[in-house]
């Protein structure tokens, strides 16, 4: 725990020791950790594999632009409004796609993302098919100087990611979390213990949408420009996230963190290989999925019994002697 606190302090102080490049890179790392952790919660714990989370990343982005440009909401406040709004949208979406099971559910989420993308292209006031840039007035509202804005974005990214991770840990430590772990281990058995499987999955889906929308809003606040293709890109918001989580380790909190670090190391060292890079990521993901299904963290944790965050519930043998 102390190690984590130290790391957080160092990271929070980054604007003072890091240059602009580093800050941008770190912010990107944080947003991917958040997105991957949310996807991990959905797939690794609730068993809901979604290849359509880009729907909420894009939704969050468009909500930010809409709120800031059309409703005069302060962009930072807009991020925090995008969350609940995204969750609200997730409710009818879930009601629909929960009628599908397994892999068909996954494709269903993709269809939803496509629908969002097509709808976004129809909204001309937000740029239609070609997209739109955030007006200068809105940008200035964040902070007067560019440096200050970059600092703000950085701290927002860090803060939001910590918030998302903390929320996930809290959820998993609660009784809902116990139910989720039971679900992950054996869904039928969990059901026969009286756990309302559908309700939990629904809850997790909506909460994940909440978090993903907020992160999406932040991502596009940083980018300053949005378009349907970038907002709802499968490659950027789903493929990378899935690869990160698979390589890091599904169903473990530490997985997405490790996975993101590995992903970014690979990205920096492989520089600009374009589609070849994606191809390799796909191959690595397949290899990991087949031969190391618990991911890198799974391998390490099992070897050394480590655990970064206190999440394991252990059976304590009751001492039958009276004290």
């Amino acid at each position: 725990m102390a190690l984590i606190a130290l790391a957080l302090i160092v990271l929070a102080a980054a604007p003072y020791w890091g240059d602009r490049q580093t800050l941008r890179l770190l912010a990107e790392v944080f947003t991917f950790v958040a997105l991957a952790s949310l996807w991990n919660l959905l797939a690794g714990y609730a068993g809901l594999v979604s290849v359509g989370q880009q729907a909420f990343v894009g939704l969050g982005g468009y909500l930010l632009f809409a709120l800031a440009m059309l409703a005069d909401v302060h962009p930072i406040a807009a991020i925090f409004i995008a969350g609940p709004l995204g969750a609200l949208v997730a409710i009818p979406v879930a009601a629909l796609i929960f009628r599908l099971r397994g892999a068909y559910f996954a494709i269903g989420t993709w269809v939803v993302a496509e629908v969002f993308r097509l709808l976004a292209s129809q909204v001309s006031v937000l740029g239609g098919g070609s997209g739109i840039s955030l007006p200068a007035a809105v940008v200035i509202a964040m902070a007067p100087s560019r440096q200050m804005r970059e600092f703000e974005i950085y701290w927002l990214a860090l803060g939001l990611t910590v918030l998302v991770l903390a929320a996930i840990v809290v959820l998993l430590r609660s009784r809902h979390g116990l139910a989720l772990t039971a679900l992950r281990d054996n869904e039928t058995a969990a059901q026969s213990c009286g756990i309302d499987v559908t309700r939990i999955k629904f809850l997790v889906y909506v909460l994940t949408a909440f978090g993903t929308s907020m992160v999406g809003a932040l991502i596009f606040l940083q980018k300053l420009r949005i378009s349907p293709d970038t907002a709802f890109s499968v490659n950027d918001w789903t493929a990378f996230v899935i690869f990160i989580t698979v390589i890091g380790g599904i169903g473990r909190i530490e997985g997405p963190i490790i996975g993101t670090i590995v992903f970014f190391i690979m990205r920096q060292s492989l520089a600009d290989l374009g589609s070849l890079y994606l191809l390799m990521m796909g191959a690595v993901a397949i290899v990991v999925m087949l031969w190391a299904p618990k991911g890198l963290w799974g391998l390490i944790a099992e070897r050394y019994g480590w655990q970064a965050l206190p999440l394991q519930r252990r059976l304590i043998q009751n001492d039958t002697r009276t004290s």
Partner: protein
């Protein structure tokens, strides 16, 4: 253009969508596997046809003679070498491995062929049309496509219900262990199913290549059309899949007529409405 004409065009393209769907639902039926790379394999077949027509100089429809067996072989090898390892109780491995495969195929094609749009020329049959009734015109190529689609589905029905291989498929799908007690090597049965699926994918891919422009990125959309056709029609029913494809095609055609930008959206909305109102599809044989 009269509405009847539009609906007719929608019906005809529905045949192509049904072919996208047939391969998908075949392997789901036999081994409960949903191949996320299915659409990209259709595009791969299109590029294979491109290479064959360029190398040998034959027309696209004739190239089927080479493309179909090649794709079938790829299917057998893919299943036996890779996908058989993903089968089991866990949902994640087949999904994530086929997703990885999808990304690999898309980017592999991108590297080999660039993002340029291509199209195969089938000659005069592409533009030939004939009048069916007053104000009702049918293109020769779309009609051929539809007839082939119906033939494929009819062929699948015959295969499944009147041949030993079909019996093996159904038995393995019912109960893998007991199927082994019949002397069936399930690894081989699954590989044959995938080979068959990709043979159909090959036909669909060649027709796609002739009908419209294609590039490495259009795979996922084909997967989605196939998937929507399967769900609309109802799981487990081949003729239902044809109906699903037709309904999807007609929805898209109607949407396009209202506003060209609405074509895809209309199809998705029709799918979502049917999912909401009749989630089991129109002709279901099995439950989800």
């Amino acid at each position: 253009m009269t509405w009847l004409n539009i609906i007719l065009q929608g019906v005809l393209i529905g045949g192509l969508y049904a072919m996208f769907a047939a391969g998908l639902s075949l392997i789901f039926g036999v081994m409960r596997l949903v191949n996320i790379a299915h659409g990209d394999l259709i595009v791969l077949a299109a590029y294979a046809a491109l290479m064959v027509t360029q190398a040998v100089g034959i027309d696209p429809l004739t190239s089927l003679i080479l493309v179909v067996p090649v794709m079938a072989l790829i299917g057998y090898a893919l299943q036996r070498g890779l996908l058989n390892r993903t089968l089991g109780d866990d949902l994640l491995p087949p999904l994530l491995v086929t997703f990885g495969l999808s990304i690999i195929i898309q980017n592999g094609l991108l590297e080999l062929f660039t993002a340029d749009s291509r199209k195969l020329q089938a000659g005069v049959i592409e533009v030939q049309t004939f009048q069916v009734a007053e104000g009702l015109w049918v293109g020769l190529l779309p009609l051929i496509q539809f007839i082939v689609a119906v033939a494929v589905i009819a062929g699948l029905q015959v295969l499944f219900y009147r041949t030993a291989l079909g019996r093996a498929f159904r038995a393995t799908s019912d109960d893998q262990s007991v199927a082994q007690l019949m002397g069936l090597d399930t690894r081989h049965v699954f590989a044959m199913a995938m080979a068959l699926s990709l043979a159909i994918v090959a036909i669909a891919g060649v027709f796609l290549a002739v009908r419209a422009n294609f590039d490495p990125a259009i795979g996922p959309a084909r997967l989605i059309f196939g998937f929507e056709a399967v769900i609309i029609g109802g799981l487990g029913s081949m003729w239902g899949t044809l109906a699903g494809g037709v309904i999807l095609g007609v929805s898209q055609a109607v949407g396009a007529q209202i506003d060209p930008g609405w074509q895809l959206l209309a199809g998705h909305i029709a799918f979502l409405v049917i999912l909401a109102v009749r989630p089991q599809g129109f002709f279901p044989k099995v439950s989800h």
